[in-house]
Amino acid sequence: MTQSIIVQVGQCGNQVGCRFWDLALREHAHINTKGVYDEALSSFFRNAVLIDMEEGVVNEILQGPLRDVFDSTQLVTDVSGSGNNWAVGHKVYGPACRDHVVEKVRRAAEHCDSLQCFFLIHSMGGGTGSGLGTHVLSLLEDEFPEVCRIVTSVYPSAEDDVITSPYNSVLAMRELTEHADCVLPVENQSLVDIINKIQQMAHSGKPSQVIRKESTLISGRGGVGGTEKPFDAMNNIIANLLLNLTSSARFEGSLNMDLNEIAMNLVPFPRLHYLVSSLTPLYTLADVNIPVRRLDQMFTDAFSKDHQLIQADPKHSLYLACALVVRGNVQVSDLRRNIERLKPSLSFVSWNQEGWKTSLCSVPPVGHSHSLLALANNTCVKPTFTELRDRFMKLYRKKAHLHHYLHVGGMEHACFSEAVTSLSSLIEEYDQLESTKSLLWSDAPRLQVAT
């Protein structure tokens, strides 16, 4: 059994991380009552490192119902926070608590029989998650170069309440492009839309559409935590994303997929590692009979823009690669049938016409009979990044708030210009690939051999 270490940085990172552990325990408790899989419980989840530069969030965790899951050897905290300033997080706190972080991570790594992957959870808009989080990322690359780094980043929406969030995000993006193996971007706006959809369903009142409350993607019911707090619903979605991603590594199935296989199959070029994710189903209807049509509906939904975790529409852009992580009682024939069905409506890059990575895990999530997580390496991330860059430029042109950053030792104008250049070239690479979409591609001429 391979293990992963979850590194949660900043307020957002720690709150999402908390939800993740809560739901994970719920999932394993559910499986365990059936007495089937014992080893998965202990081995996978021992490993977390919690980092925050102010104590509020972490203290809450330690006093809450999850206090038995974590202990002080896994924490790195400080008192004053990063003031929503990437530079403070990256250039000040980064070096200051570097040794501390390395020590905690090493200790967690030693607990592992076989460490496969680091999951980093953070937000891009703030100071700690964004600045210190990306510093920790490059630190992990230095200290553990062979271990895969998968980052879940929460991107700020256009109406984010932190004014300098574009600066923080673009500065952090450069680090992600250089040092992460895979990034799963998530946008708050998409999460809100999904929640609205679920709540609309829940309150629609039609008798045939009664949904099982604990089965929704946003429900934390049955978990260790007690009452639900404000961002909980949104964080549950991200937590479910991580649970489904790791399901094949934790449970058995007829076609397993480990985490390093995700990076291998979905990242054709080193810098283009931003994956758009979508989760279905959002809820289970109380009616237990699941006709085959529902199964197919699940596949169709995964490609609709309402289910994506960022504001993007992969169906109308170019796919570089796509992974389908299926859980539950689904057979390979169902999978293939649906791929055949959906393929004509999707455009794949010319050299990867059958760019599908599939995985079947036999254990479904709690409250569902089956579920699907789709990860796409798709050029539809381009608009998201372009908008981010535009918001950045709006501030940067006016030199607004720059002095807060430049005050910090080690920060110069060059950091900003390099960061935006990196983002621009990333957008350019996606653009180039997208332009091949409508071209008629002929096969590359084959090698000739003497007959």
């Binding site: 059994m1 391979t2 058995e252 054709p268 570089l320 050299w351 059958e354 084959r446």
Partner: protein, 452 residues
């Protein structure tokens, strides 16, 4: 003589476990199916070949290798549950870290790192055989462990057992993708295996899937169903048969005979399997077969390159001899005719001595540089196999794998031309040069088969 099986990766272990299930149930049934000496001899020969009897239990002569534990655990448990056979304790090697679908990781990292441990296990199994008939490796080409590490292990086996026969059973993935880099992994595996393996026996998931759908009438096909078909086909090839014509005396050297008949030239090592009939057990009860009928269908399956007995194109004919070489070739490819280098026909069941395979000796079926008499052999066994009263298996070294191979190389080449995913391989030690070498080697194989 005994065969040692090495099961590599998820696919290899899953199929391997099904194979041993089929073998033991068939062996134990043999006496009931065929009374007297032939049945008893069959059972003894088969058990000796694949199992080791110890303390009243049958232990498979197998080594299980995987880079993560789940599949092996499941295979061992399933075997133990059957109460007729099990895997030996300590015959498996397992790590915690997978290979990430990366051939380079399997071949350059895991292979050398675990070479000693795995070789040890294999050697122990080999030493337990009175005489080694050969080593069968089972793996897929799409993933990282089976393909990459499996290739490395094959190289080690070739070094350690230079005089033994090594037969690689490969499973090719669905064309529409199970793993995105499957074509790279396939190209690297095949090009390297060609140097060290004696013969490469191929099963394609697409083909077996069609058999499940059309012939077995399975509505929701799972990998388990696919694996059972592959196991059935392999079993029908590997179970005891008589190669010389004296029924009841089963050859002691099955792998050697197979290779002698089929692989006469090192450039042509790709083998494919067809069995007839294949149907669900419920339909079987209502069907009866005659040898002429079965053989006629099987022959046309060979000629028209159909992999199952439904949907055969009866329009494709064997070309007439005596036409100038170049013209002959063009006509053939237009017609879809499948030329063979060599074939082995294995007949099992009732009245098998009465079956007449004369039609398979037509010289037009074969390439010009081997006489039909040498290119074709028939093996027989009076014992019905796996519930089929009569069954015929054709092990063929022919052009049937040409098109799938060409497709795989074509797709991989397109991807390589864009340099996609190449960085994932270079970081473990497979360079662009290595890729080019592999492509060249396979283009050579394709060309050889095309001009057969």
């Amino acid at each position: 003589m005994s065969i040692v099986t090495v099961q590599l990766g998820q696919c290899g272990n899953q199929v391997g476990q099904e194979l041993f299930s089929v073998l033991i149930s068939d062996s134990l049934e043999a006496q009931r199916q065929c009374r007297g000496e032939p049945g008893r001899a069959y059972r003894d020969c088969s058990l000796e070949r694949f199992f080791r009897e110890h303390n009243e239990a049958s232990y498979a002569r197998a080594v299980l290798v995987d880079m993560e534990p789940k599949v092996i655990t499941h295979a061992v448990a399933t075997a133990a549950k059957s109460s007729t056979w099990k895997y030996e304790d300590g015959s498996y090697f397992c790590q915690k870290q997978g290979s990430g679908n990366n051939w380079a990781n399997g071949f350059c990292v895991h292979g050398p790192r675990h070479e000693e441990a795995v070789s040890d296990l294999i050697r122990r199994q080999v030493e337990r055989c009175d005489r080694l008939a050969g080593i069968l490796t089972m793996m897929s080409v799409a993933g990282g462990t089976g393909s990459g590490m499996g290739t490395y292990i094959t190289q080690c086996l070739r070094d350690s057992y230079p005089h033994s026969f090594i037969l690689n059973q490969l499973t090719w993935p669905y064309g529409t993708g199970e793993v995105i880099v499957q074509n790279y992994n396939s190209v690297l595996t095949l090009s390297h295996l060609y140097q060290w393996s004696d013969a490469i026996l191929v099963h394609e998931n697409d083909t077996v899937h069609k058999i499940c759908a059309k012939l077995m009438n399975i509505k929701h096909i799972s990998f388990c169903d696919v694996n059972k078909i592959i196991a059935h086909q392999l079993g029908s090839m590997l179970q005891p048969a008589d190669t010389v014509g004296t029924l009841g005396h089963y050859t002691r050297n099955p792998v050697g005979e197979l290779l002698k008949n089929l692989v006469c030239h090192s450039e042509y090592k790709l083998l494919s399997l067809s069995t007839i009939p294949q149907m669900s057990s419920s339909s079987l009860a209502y069907s009866s077969f005659t040898w002429p009928g079965l053989l006629k269908h099987l022959r046309q399956m060979l000629v028209a390159n159909a992999r199952m007995e439904e949907g055969i194109d009866w329009q494709v004919r064997v070309p007439l001899n005596g036409q100038p070489a170049l013209e002959r070739m063009a006509e053939k490819t237009k017609q879809g005719f499948n030329k063979s280098l060599a074939n082995v026909l294995i007949l099992r069941g009732k009245d098998v001595s009465g079956a007449d395979p004369e039609a398979f000796l037509h010289p037009g079926l074969y390439s010009s540089w081997l006489p039909a008499g040498t290119a074709f052999s028939t093996w027989r066994s009076p014992v019905p196999f796996n519930g089929y009263e009569k069954s015929a298996t054709l092990v063929s070294n022919s052009q049937s794998l040409l098109k799938p191979l060409d497709n795989i190389v074509g797709k991989a080449w397109n991807m390589f031309a864009s340099k996609a995913y190449v960085h994932q391989y270079t970081k473990f030690g497979i360079s662009e040069e290595d890729f080019l070498d592999s492509f060249t080697a396979l283009e050579q194989v394709i060309s050889s088969y095309r001009h057969l």
